[in-house]
């Protein structure tokens, strides 16, 4: 970002702001939608993030606009989650679906049951921090370094969190299959 984009007040102008950040609208919406799990909350969070980014625009020093914006969006989402959680009762932990199963049986179950619906449900059941790294890495294609910036954690934590998230997701899919075959 060069000086010619700044107005007399040192602020970037709205067209520049839109040019830099509106291309990330889909990525932002995807993360917000996966974190908040419904359209209306996701749309509100994305709009709120754009407003905050616009107000903080003078502090944007160029560089990775996507990571900068996603950081803001993520903060808005977690604020919303806190608000929503205080209103709802937590789901009871289902002992059944977390029972361990044998490894060869598991691999077979994974193959058979790994359809879109199971995957979607399993991903929704992951804790927010796990779901987030999967969405940011596997769906949005952010590098570990970018995820570290967005989530405010060290790269090593990104690495271990992503590994645990994937392990957990695989476990959820296998458990779903095991549960189904028992019923």
């Amino acid at each position: 970002m060069t000086e010619q984009h700044r107005d007399a007040g040192g602020n970037l102008t709205q067209p520049d702001f839109e040019q830099i950040f509106l291309p990330h609208l889909d990525a932002a919406y995807n993360l917000a939608r996966w974190l908040l799990r419904n359209d209306q909350d996701a749309e509100d969070a994305v709009q709120e993030a754009y407003m905050r980014a616009y107000k903080a625009f003078a502090r944007f020093r160029g560089g990775d606009g996507k990571a900068w914006f996603m950081t803001i969006l993520r903060n808005v989402c977690y604020t919303t989650i806190k608000k929503l959680r205080s209103r709802e009762t937590p789901e009871p932990f289902d002992e059944e679906i977390h029972q361990p199963v044998g490894e060869s049986e598991a691999q077979e179950a994974f193959r058979q049951k790994a359809n879109a619906e199971t995957l979607h449900d399993a991903l929704e059941r992951l804790p927010d921090e796990f779901r987030e790294v999967i969405v940011l890495h596997d769906l949005e294609g952010l590098a570990y370094k970018e995820i570290a910036a967005v989530a405010g954690i060290p790269i090593g934590t990104v690495m271990s969190r992503l590994a645990r998230a994937r392990g957990r997701l695989r476990g959820e899919i296998i458990a779903a299959k095991a549960k189904e075959s028992r019923s």
Binding site: Q14, D26, E43, Y50, K55
Partner: protein
Amino acid sequence: MNHDEAALLLGPYRDGELDPATRLKLEEHLAGCPSCPQKLAETRELVGLIQSETPRFAASPFLKTRIQAALREEKSSSATVAWWRRLSPGATYSGWAAAAVALVILAVGFFSTRGIPELAREGVANHVRSLQGGHLVDVASTDQHTVKPWFAGKLDYSPQVVDLASSGYPLIGARLDVLNHRNVAALIYQRQKHYINLFIWPAKADSLHGSYNQNGYHVQCWTKSGMNYIAVSELGEKELGKFVGMIQDQTADSRPGG
């Protein structure tokens, strides 16, 4: 590299996140390990599955319009704040120079805003508000015969509802709004990804005429057959003008309330 170390690096290996030296060491381990290649294949299978089977939720075009409208609003209100900040005691000499420039810009803005009638400004404010928070329409319908009766009992007049779908300006619904200190009918039309609010209410002695531009929104006002009309949109002047022309043509020979 021992087995435990390697096991932790399988994900980053799959993700292309290892430096060349570490990658080489891991590949050496993979060549001789009985279990790591299997784990790696599982990770690849899972990520492949996530990428092929998980929906990437896409933002609706409406959200984009809504954000752009909100940004425009924010921009017009923050210009004044920025100007005041510049006048703070700590301001530098160049700050004062910038303030002088800002003052001129503000003055121009002020006088050009003053040239816009209150009604047109109200129309823009209503339009912007309608794009925020998902309250664009109270009744969503592309059918003029659904929209028109919807106003019955809500207003003491019946606005004409014109169908322009075949011309590329489909009706998407209606809303009850307040303008000029009274309830008015708001018809919402769509042009590609943009929206047009058309406010309609009975004219008394007043007669509206003119087109204006406020903060990038275009407004056209007119009075026809005893009804006042204000059309507001972020569409270009030309495209809004085309819309207004068609509305005027199709309401020309009708009686108010007919």
